[in-house]
């Protein structure tokens, strides 16, 4: 253990930090953009088109396109990773808000809620399951993508995979892959629990829902 334990800890720490900031910043951008694209329909095509275009670019190429601007390192990785979360998050914010029943919205307005208050207290909470679904996909995707940033000197568990390639040595490769998958699975389960905590009312319905 000892030295290797330390390496694993560092790699895991880096993996989690890169993923956390990517999804957190992505959500901070996607929430207002999603709300705006939902409120003003004409914004939808450019918002989704732009994030869709970024999403299509292969990760290695996106990181490479950023290298001349931000150099090798954390900033480049983080910008690229944030870029990939946007399509899924914006889409799910818009779709979640779209899914709010009209009568619920009208009831809120009828009770004298201002549109802003309706959004914060009624519409966004009801959109939480869709938003969390987006966060889950974005997080699992990001955890996988972080491994690619090993090629520009970051990478978390990706460093182990890269190391396995460079030294033609299977142990770090298997370890890096397994740990990356395990991290994705663990975080995914964690986010399901977060969703349950945030939406106590939907538990009864979830039981009846089919996949």
């Amino acid at each position: 253990m000892g030295r290797h334990g330390d390496t694993l800890y560092q790699a895991g720490r880096e993996h989690v930090i890169l993923t956390f900031w990517a999804v957190a910043i992505g959500l901070v951008i996607a929430l207002p953009v999603g709300v705006a694209a939902w409120r003003w329909r004409w914004l939808q095509a450019p918002a989704l088109g732009l994030s869709g275009a970024v999403y299509t670019i292969p990760s290695l190429a996106l990181f490479a396109l950023l290298v001349p601007v931000t150099g090798l390192g954390r900033t480049t990785s983080e910008i690229g990773l944030v870029g990939y979360t946007l399509l899924i998050l914006v889409r799910n914010v818009v779709a979640g808000l779209d899914g709010v029943p009209a009568d619920v919205r009208e009831a809120a307005l009828g009770m004298g809620f201002t549109p802003a208050r309706t959004l914060l207290r009624v519409e966004l909470p009801l959109a939480v399951p869709a938003i969390v679904a987006g966060v889950r996909i974005a997080t699992v995707t990001t955890i996988g993508l972080v491994t690619v940033t090993a090629l520009i000197g970051q990478g978390g568990f990706g460093q182990l995979i890269y190391d396995g390639l460079l030294r033609d040595f299977r142990t770090p490769l298997v370890l890096g892959t397994v740990l990356s998958v395990a991290l994705a699975a663990a975080v995914d389960v964690g986010l399901v629990l977060v969703e349950r905590a945030l939406t106590p009312w939907s538990r009864a319905r979830a039981r009846a829902r089919v996949i």
Partner: protein, 242 residues
């Protein structure tokens, strides 16, 4: 910045850049050829599996979970595994790309066939169609939009991951990025990435067109309703990045 961009323009306009074994044309052909071969192989494997599973209604768990696990396994790791098992070169890249493309096609085919209205299938059966005929002439056409959505997801992902294959010593357009990074040649890195980005978008658009072409006329949605945003309900439904 301006000097940098002018270097990039020079990179692209140098005639020798386009010719020979390291030229853009050769690399592009390599990249597209490998991607097409891998995607078609994956279709040949995944389509029958998805159709049979969907038709019999068996293996729902398998079909959905394969795709979720597929998403969690980094494609980079898949490539490196390929190298460890089969040595460096085209073979590990090809096998890794096929493995990568199978889950989305299987899952989408399965989902597409399951979503066919059971009344329609019963009607076909009542008209005396055999199971094989029902599968080929009723379920597959109706499922076609979803099947092709899977092929599109897989194809775009394969083109993207073929870029990474340069890291495991195969050719393709990723070579410019990987070699550029190794030589600290930012112009080459950037130019290579530009070509890859354009190719990826072209693939996305091209396969999107194919998807619309192969959708039976009766199933084509009016433009307006196509534009409606739908939620990604789970990992299985969302396209992947690699």
């Amino acid at each position: 910045m301006f000097t940098f961009l002018s270097h990039v323009v020079t990179w692209f306009t140098t005639a020798s850049r386009w010719q020979g074994d390291h030229g853009i044309v050769h690399r592009l052909v390599e990249h597209v050829g490998m991607s097409a071969a891998a995607t078609l192989t994956a279709v040949a494997i995944a389509l029958p599996i998805g159709l049979v599973l969907g038709h019999t209604g068996k293996g729902a768990l398998l079909a959905v979970n394969v795709s979720n696990v597929g998403r969690a396994i980094p494609s980079f790791a898949l490539l490196v595994f390929g190298v460890q098992l089969f040595g460096i070169g085209a073979k590990p890249a090809y096998i890794a790309l096929v493995a990568l493309a199978i889950p989305p096609i299987t899952t989408n085919t399965y989902t597409g066939v399951r979503q066919v209205d059971p009344d329609v299938v019963e009607a076909a059966r009542g008209m005396g169609m055999r199971e094989r005929g029902i599968l080929a002439r009723v379920e597959l056409p109706v499922a076609m939009p979803l099947v092709m959505a899977g092929v599109r997801t897989a194809g775009v992902q394969v083109v993207a991951t073929a870029t990474l294959a340069a890291v495991v010593a195969w050719g393709g357009l990723g070579r410019y990025i990987v070699d550029g990074l190794a030589q600290k040649d930012t112009v080459q890195v950037f130019s290579g990435a530009l070509i890859v980005a354009v190719l990826s978008m072209a693939t996305e658009l091209g396969l999107g067109m194919l998807q619309r072409l192969l959708t039976p006329a009766g199933l084509r949605l009016p433009r307006a309703s196509q534009r409606k945003v739908s939620v990604f309900p789970g990992a299985a439904a969302a396209p992947e990045v690699s």
